[in-house]
């Protein structure tokens, strides 16, 4: 025992010593990313991980099923699912808890075809990025536990899930048609929806936030999920350094008063060297300055739920956060808690700069799926029908990647007027009038996650961000 321990300690020391002469950085990581993230316009560019054509003879059993399934309508897939999973147990895992709400609807749909159909299910929503560990661990089994997944963070999906062959993309025929393409032509991942995280602030005080730079002004500490616990937050920061979004940051800066500019300018100037070192575009210094000030000031929280609960409380005067828009739906009005205690910054007249960021939930079949046909049918059901999407569609701030479903969903749930009183004319909760995907991605200046770009800067801008000293209220 002692010898073994001594050996372990010695090898650790040797390794530390080896550090002195080691470590030339080499290029690596993923270089290209899929196109699915910009869901509303289905792209047909070549995604990462699929740049070498898969030899059909080398397809795994699940991939063969997927290939066949991609030529089928939802009804045909449903028949296959009934045959495969009747009376069985279905496990799904995802970053969204709503999968749990969607599965009973899917079962009901299958029961309209075969009333005797039954399926037990369990839906898991891991935290702290554990979904990747879970799927990796599960992938080592011959037949996995999880049939499919609904997962976010295109950057990690590419490098940890798709490249090692853990997850397979299935593109439903109906979804592809709705997007004006075909399953074979579409080369990205399959997004279920784009979600937005938006700047919201408590309005019970006198403070207003009319420029995105106000959120990083002196003494401000926005509530935000820690970027190490929810990586899409880090992806948002990566995205800010892309040329188009950096230009938005510069534009917002220029709209500031001279006093405000004078406060931020030294940081921007300081960032110019870093931007050059990181080989970023001409306006990136503005983004880097904002990122630096944000990382060094945000007040890390465990989840968007507690952030929302905090902001809608009357006592959270002048506090603000960057959180999932849909959380507002779950607020119950009480004496001190109200949706009317908050403003969505981007909805304010004269607001300058980005309104928040958007990221996708992608759908995949696990390569060792115990129920691949059922997984495909479930995925098709969620992406091709309003009922299937209703678990998410009920809420504002989640926009289907299927244009038909998106329109149908608005017809059913009227999110654009979701904050109106029953008379239909009085504004009851202004913050709940969702202006929709089109508005958010144009006027609302939503920063959209692009997995390819995120992957390309993950170890440059990413490492730079990690060097920043995070705000600690200690």
């Amino acid at each position: 025992m002692k010898k073994l321990l001594a050996l372990l300690l010695t090898s650790s020391m040797l390794v530390s010593l080896a550090a002195c002469g080691g470590g030339g950085a080499a290029q690596g990581g993923s270089t290209a990313q899929p196109a699915g993230s910009t869901a509303q316009t289905a792209e047909t560019t070549e995604p990462a991980g699929t740049d070498t054509k898969v030899d059909e003879a080398n397809l795994t059993a699940t991939q063969k099923i997927i290939q066949e399934a991609q030529g089928m309508s939802l009804e045909e897939l449903a028949a296959k699912a009934i045959e495969e999973s009747n009376g069985k147990m279905f496990y799904g895992v995802g970053n969204s808890s709503r999968g749990k709400s969607a599965l009973p609807l899917f079962i009901s749909y299958l029961q309209t075809i075969d009333p005797s159909y039954t399926m037990e299910f369990e839906w898991q929503q891991p935290k702290n990025n554990k979904i990747f560990d879970q799927l990796t661990a599960d992938s080592l089994k011959d037949t996995g536990t999880f049939a499919m997944t609904l997962i976010q963070d295109g950057n990690q999906i590419q490098s940890k899930m798709v490249q090692p062959g853990i997850l397979d993309t299935f593109i439903p025929k109906d979804w592809a048609e709705a997007n004006g393409t075909t399953p074979d032509a579409y080369k990205g991942y399959l997004p279920l929806q784009t979600l937005n995280k938006v700047f919201e602030y408590n309005n019970t005080g006198s403070k207003t936030y009319d420029n995105v730079w106000d959120f990083v002004a002196e003494g401000e500490h926005g509530l935000f999920m820690d970027i190490d616990s929810e990586i899409v937050g880090k992806n948002f920061l990566y995205m800010l350094t892309r040329d188009d979004y950096a230009a938005w940051m510069k534009e917002a800066f220029e709209a500031l008063s001279d006093d405000e500019k004078a406060y931020f300018q030294p940081v921007i100037t300081e960032m110019e060297t870093d931007a050059a070192d990181l080989m970023l575009g001409p306006d990136a210094a503005y983004s880097l300055a904002w990122i630096k000030l944000w990382v060094e000031s945000y007040n890390a929280q465990t989840d968007d739920g507690p952030i929302c609960s905090t902001l809608v409380d009357a006592s959270a005067t002048d506090q603000f956060g960057l959180l999932v828009y849909s959380k507002l739906r779950s607020v119950e009005e009480s004496a001190t808690v109200s949706v009317n205690n908050i403003n969505v910054a981007a909805y304010d007249d004269g607001y300058e700069g980005i309104g928040g960021y958007g990221y996708c939930h992608y759908l995949f079949v696990t390569d060792n799926s115990p129920l691949p046909w059922t997984a495909c049918a479930f995925i098709a059901y969620m992406t091709c029908t309003a009922d299937g999407f209703s678990a998410w569609g009920k809420d504002m701030g989640g926009y289907s990647s299927n244009p038909k479903v998106l329109a149908e969903n608005e017809e059913i749930y009227h999110h654009m007027t979701g904050g109106m009183a029953e008379d239909g004319t009085t504004v009851q909760f202004a913050a709940k009038n969702d202006r929709g995907y089109e508005w958010w991605t144009t006027d609302g200046k939503l920063v959209l996650e692009d997995p390819e770009y995120c992957a390309s800067v993950a170890f440059t801008v990413g490492s730079w961000i990690e060097m920043l000293t995070k705000y600690s209220a200690e």
Binding site: M1, S12, V15, S16, A18, A19, C20, G22, G23, A25, G28, G29, V93, S97, K100, S101, P104, Q125, P126, K127, N128, K130, F132, D133, A137, D138, L140, T145, Q156, S159, Q163, H221, L223, D228, N299, T302, D303, G305, S309, T310, V312, D313, S315, A316, Q319, R329, S330, E332, S334, T336, V337, A391, K394, G462, E466, M467, T469, S472, A473, E474
Partner: protein, 609 residues
């Protein structure tokens, strides 16, 4: 030729006889078997995690730096120790972890030790109540106290959140060092582990020979000198034991520093795991090295304990210090007040939380309007996302919660039975043959997992059992194996301490009468020391019931109650987490009451009886 073959045969016979003689003693068989099994269960995970530090993980920093997607490299060590991020990824968390562990030890020893002294050595009032209520923080999951702390002390002005109860009701804004970081973390963990100190130190106070103190009093020695030169040295072994138990536990605690905003090795492990997987494993190894160091310190302290053999338990005379008529009540009142906040208030707060319309929304208190309360968290019977239910059914109908509860009971009972039985056997076998090197090895290897931080043990087992040959991820089997290995020390220490109190003559007389070993154990040894042995079963059960750090990497949410509870807490759905807390507390109290009724043993009698 014939002679040499005879010689060989003779040697063989001697060897065979030696082996037969060795194995004829049941405790040797136990030592041999346990030594082999425990070596595997302790060392194999360590090897697995060491291997992981050299492995290249796709999509992480090692793959980026080496330009490879598989294979082995020392790049993780190089990067962790020498990169520009060494301070933030390694040294600061390491320092915070040490501060936290040391601070927790101090708080738990001071609080637990003083209460133990007051209960056992003075005529304090309401002892029974204080003694029972004092162990409550240990029953509750450790981070629930952290959540209660936040609900009490957070304020808009200081923490930049909504106001907690103190700020809302009285306008008091506690300073930031009180609300977040090291101080609240070590206080919360210290309160959580104070029952350890209470049980261990109290055990010695209860049994210590008062003749020494009385002799000093007769010789007119000042009271402070008696305390410093006699009383404290007597409880030194118990203090060392508390440090042993608490240091490693505090070091491996993930949820408390996570909720209270302190960066430690555990929290850093979790945050680094996605992009710096191999480097995170090195952090786990560093935590393990601390565990090993503590074990070595323990060996040293065991040697020095030889000079404290005055703790014999033979004296029936324990002099009680008189606190005075007012003093005994005032001190008791202070303790009742303190334990109210550590034990009663959290439970009341959990109860209330399950009736609030929004998490932390105490509108009914400020307005006096009880219509601001709701029963939706309990009785909602449909799957809805409105009104803050997030697609969850009420607690009474929530299958996830009740399935997790069943899973937790299964794991806890299995771990308790296995760890209790194995630990008792190890304790018995070790007590019979203390000077043997193999015995000491078995004793150490059985105790080592407890000294290793829980999260590091969890990581090691996750890596060991998540491969293509054996994949036990998210199975009860894995949780039971890990829980058993981790909690054997509860039973082995308890059993060893009690077995050492037993004279060999008792068993020897039974041997002379040809009483078989099983009968000797079940009819003589176990009945005599049943209280200690049962606590060796009860502690693993109770600890398993609310363990998170150990299990969080080994299963998914909803698999057991603690991961489900943590999930709801992180999501900010405090009504569900509070409801689960109540379920856990009630379960533990029911089991404790049953065991107490049936056997006379109880939790507050604790380790070592």
């Amino acid at each position: 030729m014939e002679q040499s073959s005879k010689k060989k045969a003779g040697k063989f016979t001697i060897m065979r006889n030696k082996v037969a003689t060795y194995l004829s003693k049941p405790y040797n068989v136990i030592l041999l078997l346990m030594g082999i099994v425990l070596s595997f269960t302790t060392i194999a995970p360590i090897i697995a995690i060491v291997e992981d530090t050299f492995k290249i993980h796709p999509g992480t920093i090692d793959a980026h730096l080496t330009g490879q997607s598989s294979g082995y490299s020392v790049v993780n060590y190089v990067d962790l120790f020498t990169s520009r991020m060494a301070k933030s990824n390694l040294w600061t968390p390491l320092l915070n972890t040490v501060y936290l562990a040391v601070g927790t030890c101090i708080v738990s020893i001071l609080f637990g030790g003083i209460v133990a002294f007051l209960i056992t050595r003075t005529d304090l009032a309401w002892k029974k109540y204080i003694s029972s209520i004092f162990i409550f923080p240990y029953i509750m999951p450790q981070w629930t106290l952290a959540v209660v702390w936040q609900h009490l002390f957070n304020s808009n002005k200081i923490t930049g959140t909504s106001n907690g109860l103190l700020a809302s009701l009285f306008g008091i804004n506690m300073p930031i060092w009180w609300c977040k970081g090291l101080f609240p973390s070590l206080v919360v963990l210290g309160l959580h582990y104070a029952p350890f100190a209470y049980i261990l130190i109290g055990g010695i106070f209860r049994n210590m020979d008062a003749n020494l103190e009385e002799a000093a009093t007769i010789l007119d020695t000042p009271k402070w000198r008696i305390m410093a030169r006699i009383t404290l040295p007597m409880v030194k072994p118990a203090i060392l034991s508390t440090i042993l138990l608490v240091f490693g536990s505090a070091m491996g605690s993930y949820p408390v520093p996570h909720y209270l905003g302190l960066t430690t090795l555990s929290t850093k492990y979790v945050s680094m795991n996605s992009k710096y997987t191999g480097e995170a494993s090195i952090l786990a190894i560093i935590m393990m090295i601390f565990g090993v160091a503590i074990m070595l310190l323990n060996q040293l302290s065991l040697t020095s304990r030889k000079s404290y053999t005055t703790v014999t338990g033979k004296s029936g005379q324990i002099s009680k210090i008189r606190l005075g008529r007012a003093g005994r009540c005032i001190i008791a009142l202070v303790l009742v007040f303190l334990t109210f906040f550590t034990s009663i208030f959290p439970i009341v707060s959990f109860g209330f939380e399950t009736f609030l319309p929004n998490p932390g929304d105490y509108s009914f208190l400020y307005t006096g309007d009880f219509s601001n309360l709701t029963t939706k968290w309990w009785v909602t019977a449909e799957n809805i996302t409105e009104n803050g239910m997030y697609g969850q059914m009420g607690i009474l109908y929530n299958k996830t919660i009740w399935n997790a509860f069943k899973g937790t009971l299964l794991v806890s009972i299995a771990c308790s039975l296995l760890a209790g039985t194995i630990g008792t056997l190890v304790g018995y076998a070790v007590s019979k043959n203390r000077r043997d090197k193999w015995t000491n090895y078995v004793n150490s290897v059985a105790f080592l997992p407890y000294l290793m931080p829980s999260i590091a043990v969890g990581v090691a087992y996750f890596i060991l059992f998540s491969n293509k040959y054996v994949n036990l991820f998210n199975t009860y089997t894995l949780l039971i194996i890990v829980g058993t290995v981790k909690y054997i020390p509860f039973a082995s220490r308890s059993s060893l301490n009690s077995m050492l109190q037993l004279s060999n003559e008792i068993e020897e007389s039974a041997i002379i009468l040809n009483v078989p070993w099983i009968k000797r154990m079940t009819r003589i040894i176990i009945p005599i020391q049943k209280s200690s042995i049962i606590s060796g079963y009860l502690l693993p059960f109770m600890t398993c019931l609310r363990e998170l750090s150990l299990f969080m990497l080994l299963c998914v949410q909803g698999f057991i109650l603690s991961t489900t509870l943590d999930y709801f807490d992180e999501m900010g759905l405090y009504a569900f987490s509070s409801g689960i807390n109540l379920i856990l507390i009630v379960t533990i109290l029911i089991f404790n009451a049953i065991v107490n009724k049936v056997t006379g043993a109880s939790l507050d009698k604790g380790i070592g009886g």
